[in-house]
Subunit: 323 residues, 2 copies
Amino acid sequence: MASKVAVVAVGGNALTREDQPGTAQQIRDNAAEIAVGICALADAGWQVVVVHGNGPQVGSLIIQQEAGVALVPSQPLSVLNAMTEGQLGSVLALAIDSIRGPGSAVAMVSHMTVSPDDPAFQHPTKPVGPFFDAAHADQMQRERGWLMAEDAGRGYRRVVASPTPLELLELTTLRGLLGTGVIVLAAGGGGVPVARTPAGPFTGVDAVIDKDLAAARVAAGVGAQALLLVTAVDEVYVDFGTPQARPVRVMDTALADRYLAQGQFPAGSMGPKIQAAVSFVRWSGASAVVTSAAHMAAALVPDAATGTRIVPETIPATVMSRA
Amino acid sequence: MASKVAVVAVGGNALTREDQPGTAQQIRDNAAEIAVGICALADAGWQVVVVHGNGPQVGSLIIQQEAGVALVPSQPLSVLNAMTEGQLGSVLALAIDSIRGPGSAVAMVSHMTVSPDDPAFQHPTKPVGPFFDAAHADQMQRERGWLMAEDAGRGYRRVVASPTPLELLELTTLRGLLGTGVIVLAAGGGGVPVARTPAGPFTGVDAVIDKDLAAARVAAGVGAQALLLVTAVDEVYVDFGTPQARPVRVMDTALADRYLAQGQFPAGSMGPKIQAAVSFVRWSGASAVVTSAAHMAAALVPDAATGTRIVPETIPATVMSRA
């Protein structure tokens, strides 16, 4: 490969922001901003793979599918995930092409294998789609077999499993593309989750794969030199919300584990990012960086003055002194 | 490239048949049947590119988007096209992988440039989506700016332009993939139509590209040795519905043009296929074949006993005798 590979994970809520209904124009405008950062990375010599999330967009599709259910059959979650790979892959590819020229980016509809025995399937916890009142939640549970759960006093939502991503079905093709300089959008929404039964064919399963974990998996699979987890903040904070709140510039995997065990990073947001970062760093020996979209390229410069870097564990001095 | 390239165009109504509402299971089952033919082509040594249609599927999405419009913003036609590239690309890739093994196929979200000056934009004629009564048609025209047209006494439908496909934005990537043996799904639904204004960025436009013409364009672009247009019948007929009805085994482009001029092939179905075939044969000097899904591989054997072959014009004997 001509250059070093960076895998960049971008949230679905960077494409449809929390205060936005998600019109095509809003998604296009947000994609244009993200594309600037991605192109800056490419300009800095990185071969870039982008893994986007799809939470708000798949949520909109679920609402539309339900609204039209008397007229046309609704599609299962795995198919809706594939639809968002087309939708957001197209928007991001066009945004990148608009900066770097036609054909600079290509979106690959991606599938991620999961184990049918993943314990997540025994205890689905990931909420997807709209809120229902108790009566409608009951109805969906009866009619669709959906598992519904109460969500922080705001109503009921469908919960699905979030199994561990194992292997990108398109990994060989992705590796091949990385030599060509094209910016690849892969594993969108974490990829369509696919379970392979011993005898049966590959089929999508109704689950969602965390896009940060998927990005870590893809990064390890292609031998990436960096994993970049893009979020709303420039750096990761510890003791957040206290007078001792401070940004972390560098942490090795051991320190990250300690912070995780202390509950420093909320489960729904920064927690999975740090876990994905730690997984990638342990698998690969390379570094992961958490930062904002605006600082993407700057954060991957050695000794960058921005972003939080997660690095391999160094042998502690105390251990060495005992030897 | 290791082997000869065949571009295969498969209709969206091969994936959701006319008598089917289009459940995920129906689309999967139909894809599994199509995948058998595609894999037979690959087994016969062809490097295969598949261009699928998306008429029924984009129609379903339009209905669902409208049904949910009070809750979430509906997406424009160009975005819905991208969604079906994800949906059907995923289904077909999984169906192929289920036969040939993981990673055998990859779906590329594709964009096709069109000219903003294409005369089709002056006279949109291609109906998309559901039927409306006169009052609702009027409302959609006012509120959305949609152009509505009466459709054969069955009600009103939105009509959009069907411009000529010019260039696949992802052509370089596609050419690169063809050396690797992977079966590529490209230009799904004809590709997202993209017009580039002199100054502006690439953006999707609300139009539909004929998938057979898109396939012809892709086939010429990659230097394919064959274009295979899959349809419901094994061979093309002339004088159809008369006592003289007979299948055509081979026609050169001059004969095909004469038949087209005679109105032998209906505008909505076989006509565009023959036009696409003639275009490809003229651009490339290679052959095109029209046949059914069941005969895909058999029809590409030299001197095949099935399918209708469109071949380059030979210099007529009468012309040669004059020389």
